[in-house]
């Protein structure tokens, strides 16, 4: 594989590894990420992986940085699976905290239980974090669950809300505006400034959602306040 290297800013280059979104991209992106961190060391300012790319920001002359990237990625092999972690994330799927759960079921012509089963049926790689601290873009969900974003985003989405947009899925780490179709809520804290690494999810991790009852959701510290009521 020969990555393309593109100019993005005075001190940043984009390493383009793929042209399409695919779950198979992540082992390559993880491997490239590790090699670049090793190659740049203290001269790496930031490294932003996304679906098909890695943006490298450096404290180094751009020509040297380009050479260093090329050398680091020579003979790149996909990560064998040790790097990313696997998380099981409990979710209480219910219309009171996931108002689009019935909507998705009706759209797909299936029961809510079947929507839940399909959402929990596979491991999703974390393609990228963005939008807000700790917000992981994951996918791809079963095609039958694919649903466009809300035409008017909500002004407030509760922390922990689990949603679907097209074939991607995510959980909101904090209260924020949002246009994803909400189907449930997790009690898990996704971003915590006291945690080592701050974010539960890291690019390249894998996530399996696990359906839990309301009682377990509450026991795990979940807040079941209806959507617009939570501060």
């Amino acid at each position: 594989m020969t990555p393309r290297i593109e100019v993005v800013a005075i001190d940043s280059l984009m390493v383009r590894l793929f042209d399409t979104i695919d779950e198979g991209n992540m082992p390559w992106i993880l491997a490239a990420s590790q090699r670049l961190r090793d190659a740049f060391g203290q001269q790496l300012i930031d490294l932003v992986p996304s679906y098909t790319t890695l943006m490298v920001q450096f404290d180094l002359a751009p020509g040297e940085a380009r050479q260093r990237i090329l050398q680091a990625l020579e003979g790149l092999r996909p990560d064998a699976g040790q790097a990313g972690r696997r998380h099981e994330i409990p979710v209480w799927y219910h219309a009171s905290v996931g108002p689009e759960l019935p909507v998705l079921a009706a759209r797909a012509g299936m029961s809510e239980a079947e929507v839940i089963r399909l959402h929990c049926a596979r491991d999703y790689p974390v393609f990228a974090l963005g939008f807000a601290p700790g917000f992981g873009f994951m996918g791809l969900v079963d095609e039958r669950l694919a649903t466009p974003r809300l035409s008017t985003p909500r002004k407030r989405v509760a922390a922990g809300s689990v949603g679907i947009a097209e074939r991607q899925t995510a959980a909101y780490p904090a209260v924020s505006p949002g246009g994803w179709n909400l189907i449930g809520r997790t009690p898990v804290r996704l971003f915590d400034r006291e945690r080592e690494g701050y974010s539960l999810l890291q690019p390249g991790d894998r996530v399996r959602f696990v359906a839990v009852e309301r009682s377990e959701f509450i026991n795990l510290g979940g807040d079941d306040s209806p959507l617009e009521a939570q501060a």
Binding site: V8, I10, T20, Y198, P203
Partner: protein
């Protein structure tokens, strides 16, 4: 010990330093002073580390009272600063005696002023920085990402009552080194990979027509109004967004992305403004006309290194 008490503030008066780094892959934005040049001069006047925490004051409406004798420094915009009614020139250090009031009223030139104290302001460091990012609830005095409010007390990390003229204390920034806030700034733009995917007419217009700063502007980005730019390339998949990216959404009107931008996005970009261009842009009022000048990455890098050498 109490040092400076905030008497008046706005949502645009924020504790800032150079920002957060090494966390962009977690979706955490950069934050930091929009005019990093002025931040550095304010700190330089007091012999501080150049990235020490300062107060960024946009448009005025800020006032503090000294609870003990202080030495302070101001750089950046001329916001009609006064100590008990006496004018304070920007780009200088000055004394604020116990009980005296410093007021920054309104813009006379530029938009953002930077107030420094010896050793920098004390803030709660979160993820390596005390830069205030309201949207992410990070940084500031207590770490929760709040703007400064009336009644809060600001502390200096160093000895606050040093004398002007003492070692490491400078009275003013030399005239020749102060940035010039031009009426119509020319902003250097490092050309990015998608530049060839804009039509020929669009490219000509991007670099030869005026762009007017829209009033829709905040620390995430500034919209520009002008000719409609047409992107002819394939739709993009979201990827990392650098500081200063000039992205072009489907309406063809560019947005310059600033320190509090989202970390990834999928709009095509002309490229990214240089740090010096961003410092100029941070001092432009809505309605200001600007032009872009295309530069290549290596040349921009060398210019930046040369500029940084003025601080030694």
């Amino acid at each position: 010990m109490s040092q400076l008490r905030v008497e008046a503030s706005t949502a645009l008066c924020l504790l800032q330093d150079a920002g957060r780094f090494g966390v962009r892959h977690l979706g955490v934005t950069q934050g930091g002073a929009l005019d990093w040049v002025a931040m550095r001069w304010a700190n330089w006047l007091l012999g501080n580390a150049l990235d020490s925490a300062v107060v960024e004051i946009a448009l005025g409406g800020f006032s503090v009272v000294a609870e003990q004798d202080c030495v302070l420094a101001l750089a950046g915009a001329d916001l009609d600063a006064q100590v008990d009614g006496q004018a304070v020139a920007p780009w200088t250090s000055f004394n604020l005696g116990k009980g005296q009031r410093l007021t920054l009223r309104q813009p006379r030139q530029g938009v953002r002023a930077y107030l420094a104290v010896p050793g920098g302001f004390v803030g709660e460091s979160v993820l390596g920085s005390c830069s205030t990012v309201v949207r992410e609830e990070l940084g500031g005095l207590d770490g929760q990402g709040r703007a400064l409010v009336k009644g809060e007390v600001l502390h200096a990390a160093g000895a606050i009552a040093g004398q002007i003229g003492a070692p490491n204390r400078r009275s003013h920034v030399p005239e020749a080194l102060r940035p010039v806030y031009a009426e119509k700034p020319v902003l250097d733009l490092v050309m990015g990979a998608q530049i060839g995917d804009f039509g020929g007419t669009s490219l000509f217009e991007a670099f030869n027509r005026d762009w007017t700063l829209d009033s829709r502007a905040d620390r995430m980005g500034i919209r520009l109004l002008g000719p409609q730019l047409v992107y002819q390339g394939a739709p993009m998949i979201s990827e990392g967004i650098p500081l200063g990216a000039v992205q072009v959404p489907p309406d063809g009107q560019p947005i310059v992305l600033l320190n509090d931008r989202q970390t990834i996005g999928g709009y095509p970009r002309l490229g990214a403004l240089t740090p010096l261009a961003l410092a100029q842009l941070a001092q432009c009022m809505p309605g200001t006309a600007v032009r872009f000048r295309a530069v290549v990455q290596d040349e921009a890098w060398r210019e930046q290194q040369a500029y940084l050498s003025r601080w030694g």
